[in-house]
Subunit: 244 residues, 2 copies
């Protein structure tokens, strides 16, 4: 390995974006910690012209899911930390960055499997319609790979402190919020279900999760500021304020 | 997305190796096409000093499997192709590069889940002992992430032209090859099982796979040149020639 290793240590790999995601997640706060937890979260990956030839996605529509390797673009300038405090350990216990999916990594690479709803390609433009994504709007994507269950699906794998999906909290809607969801059929998105799935993750920082937390939170979701609070073991959706 | 996209299009992400893999695969020929198919393939990922603090892998030993994002270093100078001919389609049919796991990709990033047998860390050195890897010796690794079954395991995913693991071919050993395997207990590796698993993938190029193929092939595996041929629907291992 001698020479190759020496060369490798000197060289960096320059990765270029293949395209960008547009999604309903307009800010980091509230984004689920893993993909697939919020099935109603739709996103579109638009490839750049250099990667938009229809032949590049030939056969891709036979796959129900794809891997995206992406760049944690919004946080990468903050660098990385040797240890992180995962929310599921209450934010108190530190684990190594390589034992976590934290975005503050030596190389700011993210990995998500998302549902591929539709491949739209033609006229020099390719768009992948996705759901279950946990990607911030504007995320640059570095690679797309088909999900291969025979190689990628290991249901019996042991997963230390994260053996199962985080528990969900009950979400209730105020009359006002119910009315607002009913009026909005926000570009074909079931806004009520989206809000319920996103807030069911309890997006509050773990250090705020006490029974006496009375703060009103806001979260940007699609074209709304979703206002909510915690009360009696539930999340109450107060209202959805339209924003620019 | 306006400004962010503009910036993203201008900038490249510089990824640095975190460490290097040493494995029994000393050349591309014969490497299984996905990880996990050859469980006996052991590898060691040695992290570089900057990433070798014991705290970076704290808690990692609770996970049975990890994702590696790595660099297809041996082939990256060959660039990428819009379409590829997957071996499982007989090497005749072209599919888009994004519908394949081909190494000839716009960003030469590989993705493999491997079994984590042991985490060895201390004295400023960290080594991950892996099995089921499909990585060429010397592969630079760009990221390590824990495998999370609740997010990553999708046994029901549909996978187009690659719905299941490739079929295996029967492997038989000559008396000479049996003897050689019995004599070698190559650094704790079960060489016979490794050879059987690797050749069971039928590493011959798809365009050579005819019933009249009489060629004798050689494959570098650990410290051996494994000589084999195809006959009567089986792979015959002729001998294992030790090499430097």
């Amino acid at each position: 390995m001698g020479n190759r290793e020496q060369e490798g240590m000197m060289t960096v790999l320059e990765c270029r974006p293949l395209g960008y995601v547009s999604s309903c997640y307009r800010e980091r706060f509230g984004i689920p910690r893993q993909p697939g937890l919020v099935t109603e979260a739709r996103a579109i990956l638009t490839l750049l012209p250099a990667y938009s030839g229809a032949e590049l996605v030939r056969g891709l529509d036979g796959f129900s899911h794809v891997w995206l390797i992406f760049r944690f673009h919004a946080t990468e300038t903050q660098g990385w930390h040797p240890t992180v405090r995962p929310p599921r350990l209450g934010g108190q216990v530190r684990v190594g960055v390589f034992a976590s999916r934290s975005m503050f990594r030596p190389n700011p690479l993210g990995l998500s499997v998302v549902r591929l709803d539709k491949v739209e390609s033609g006229g020099g433009m390719t768009r992948l319609h996705l759901s279950g994504a946990d990607l911030l709007d504007g995320t640059p994507v570095l690679d797309i790979k088909p999900y291969l269950p025979y190689a990628d699906s290991l249901s019996q794998a042991e997963a230390g402190f994260a053996p199962e999906a985080p528990s969900r909290i009950t979400v209730v809607f105020s009359v006002r919020a119910e009315d607002q969801c009913a009026r909005e059929h926000d570009q074909g998105i079931n806004l009520r279900l989206l809000v319920e799935q996103v807030l069911g993750q309890d997006p509050r920082p773990s250090w705020r999760r006490s029974d006496t937390d009375e703060r009103v939170y806001g979260m940007r979701l699609c074209r709304h500021d979703v206002r909510f609070r915690y009360r009696n073991d539930r999340i109450e959706v107060l209202e959805l304020v339209p924003v620019g």
